[in-house]
């Protein structure tokens, strides 16, 4: 990553009390809290012109759910990291900045139960089956066991 770009990222990060770390060459991690996430991503997209969002990853971190935005430009990856508490998992949608993020947010809603406010399609199912029970926890949480999913979705096959 060019010195100039990293400097600018650090400036924007300082505005929102975020931490920048570079564990490996070409990989930059920025921890941003939920209150500033939209503002920071808007800087990345509109001011730094880093337009390619590879995907959004959800992570089960125990108490919290991590949300990772993977931006990339040439050889550099810029990973913006944010967390929401599991008990009240509501995050801010970035669809009005990057319209292509709509399906990625729906995917995290299906798999981790995070609701993105501002995403128009968030209440539709994208990947989960239509008969997914409402009281069954989201599938990619560590506490959800595959055996339980099979049982509740009636996928259990009787073995002789």
């Amino acid at each position: 990553m060019s010195e100039n770009l990293l400097e600018q990222l650090q400036t924007y990060a300082a505005q929102s009390n975020s931490k920048v770390s570079v564990p490996r060459k070409g990989e930059t991690f920025i921890d941003v809290d939920q209150g500033h996430i939209k503002e920071f991503i808007s800087h990345v997209v509109n001011d730094l012109r880093i337009l390619h969002l590879a995907t959004i990853t959800g992570l089960d971190l125990g108490e919290n759910i991590g949300i990772l935005y993977h931006f990339s430009q040439d050889k550099d990856t810029i990973q913006v990291r944010s967390t929401v508490p599991k008990a009240q998992s509501t995050a801010v949608s970035i669809v009005d900045i990057i319209p292509g993020a709509i399906l990625y947010e729906m995917e995290i809603h299906d798999m981790f139960g995070v609701t993105f406010t501002g995403n128009p399609w968030i209440n539709q199912k994208l990947l989960l089956p239509d008969n997914w029970p409402d009281d069954l926890p989201p599938p990619l949480l560590k506490t959800t066991k595959p055996a339980e999913i099979r049982k509740r979705l009636h996928l259990e096959v009787e073995r002789k």
Binding site: P23, R24, E27, L51, H52, L53, A54, T55, T57, G58, L59, D60, L68, H70, S72, D74, K75, T77, Q79, I98, P99, G100, A101, I102, L103, Y104, D110, M111, W121, Q124, K125, L126, L127, L128, P129, P139, L140, K142, P146, H154, E158
Partner: protein
């Protein structure tokens, strides 16, 4: 009607409704080619909104990966796709290799490039054939899929398998190139180059392809394509120089000379031209790589435990950029693996491309993004003015499209004027 009798009616009274013997028939059935569902909202003939519903073949690979050893996951992720299988294991492998201290030997990098490019050629050929099929030009489909067999034979000779090559290992490949293959590969690449030029001539002159592809598809500009997260050919056909092979070279792409293809017309024919030109680029790369492949080891053995950390990797699959993210806590199994396939990234762009198009163009535009869920069996339509609602299968939609453009086509048995294979 009671619930019980309603259920009996749904199963045509053929079977008792119970969990064990319920056979769902609809979008999720092995008899259909691939399951998927789009809801198209129409205004007369024009499309105003498209709502996708995917996930019918979601098998929970990301969850499954968390309970399997690192090595086993490599071959499991290869099963994500039946066309571009190799590139998945390559991308997952690179993400994991980034967490270790080992280097991939140079010979293995060249072998990875050769297999990845062979895969790109056979995937693009498959797609060109399908475009011919949906346009109503079956002859093209037959020719192209015949050529594709030659590539699959090469893949089988090198890896031992036609589809799931299982060639990758961590920090290397599992099999070396067979001896005395060089001449055979170069000869076939020359043949593929000739054929690609011939197909270019066909799509530029043949009336079926002209009518069905020229100025078809809602035109989008570069910034829209980027903001809709379009990848691969879907980004390159509007003029963006976006290709992971060039911008962030992996395998041996930094040692093999090549240039990517971009176009600016912005219609479906641009995508056809672009992918046919990419065949030539790939063929040249393979010919160069087999001539310049270095001697040496093909693999470094690594420990089954991967150090803690997180790393991501991306590769250029035939359909665009694929992305893998792995997180390790230093154990024998990964803590989290995330994979993002190019079709997922290209769906928002495809929905934009469909807006304002006629119903007859839907098969061409949706096939043009080279979706991994190919052929749109079962679609439902909603006409906004009369609130009429109906459902068609993919085959009905295909015939509707062909009849729309060529009303007399179903009466004449031999529509194409082209001669047989030269």
């Amino acid at each position: 009607m009671s619930d019980e009798s309603k259920r009996r009616e749904e199963t045509a009274g053929l079977m008792e409704f119970s969990v064990e013997n319920l056979v769902p028939f609809g979008p999720i059935h092995p008899a259909l080619k691939e399951p998927e569902y789009f809801k198209l909202i129409l205004e007369g003939e024009k499309i105003v909104q498209v709502i996708p519903r995917i996930g019918y073949v979601h098998r929970g690979l990301e969850k499954a990966a968390e309970s399997r050893p690192w090595v086993q996951n490599m071959y499991m992720f290869e099963r994500t796709c039946g066309i571009c299988s190799f590139v998945h294991s390559l991308c997952y492998g690179q993400a994991v290799e980034g967490l270790t201290i080992y280097e991939v030997p140079r010979r293995a990098k060249y072998i990875r490039l050769i297999i990845a490019e062979l895969e790109r050629i056979h995937s693009h050929l498959l797609w060109v054939g399908l475009m011919g099929h949906w346009a109503g030009f079956e002859t093209l489909f037959m020719w192209v899929w015949n050529d594709r067999e030659l590539i699959l034979d090469l893949v089988e000779a090198i890896s031992g398998n036609r589809v799931h090559k299982s060639m990758n290992a961590f920090c290397g490949v599992r099999r070396d190139m067979p001896e005395n293959m060089e001449d055979r590969i170069v000869e076939r690449m020359k043949f593929i180059t000739d054929r690609a030029h011939y197909y270019r001539e066909i799509i530029d002159t043949e009336e079926t392809m002209l009518a069905r592809t020229e100025n078809v598809g809602n035109k989008i500009n570069q910034e829209t394509a980027q903001k809709l997260c379009a990848v691969g050919p879907m980004a390159r056909y509007v003029g963006l120089r976006q290709d992971v092979r060039l911008t962030d070279p992996y395998a041996a792409y930094d040692e093999v000379p090549f240039d990517i293809v971009t176009r600016t017309e912005g219609d479906v024919r641009a995508l056809l031209r672009l992918r046919l030109d990419e065949l030539v680029v790939s063929a040249n790369m393979i010919s160069y790589a087999v001539k310049h492949i270095p001697e040496g080891p093909i693999r470094v053995k690594i420990a089954p435990i991967i150090p803690a950390g997180e790393h991501s990797s991306h590769c250029e699959a035939p359909r665009g950029e694929i992305f893998y993210y792995v997180k390790s806590t230093g154990g024998r199994t990964p803590d989290r693996v995330k994979s993002r396939q190019p079709t997922m990234a290209n769906i928002p762009a495809a929905l934009e491309l469909l807006k304002g198009q006629t119903l007859a163009d839907v098969p061409m535009v949706l096939t043009a993004i080279d979706p991994c869920f190919g052929c749109m069996d079962r679609m439902s339509f909603l006409e906004t003015e009369s609130q009429k609602q109906w459902t068609w299968s993919g085959e009905q939609l295909r015939q509707y499209g062909i009849k729309h453009y060529f009303p007399d086509r179903f009466n004449s048995p031999n529509p194409t004027k082209f001669k047989a294979v030269p």
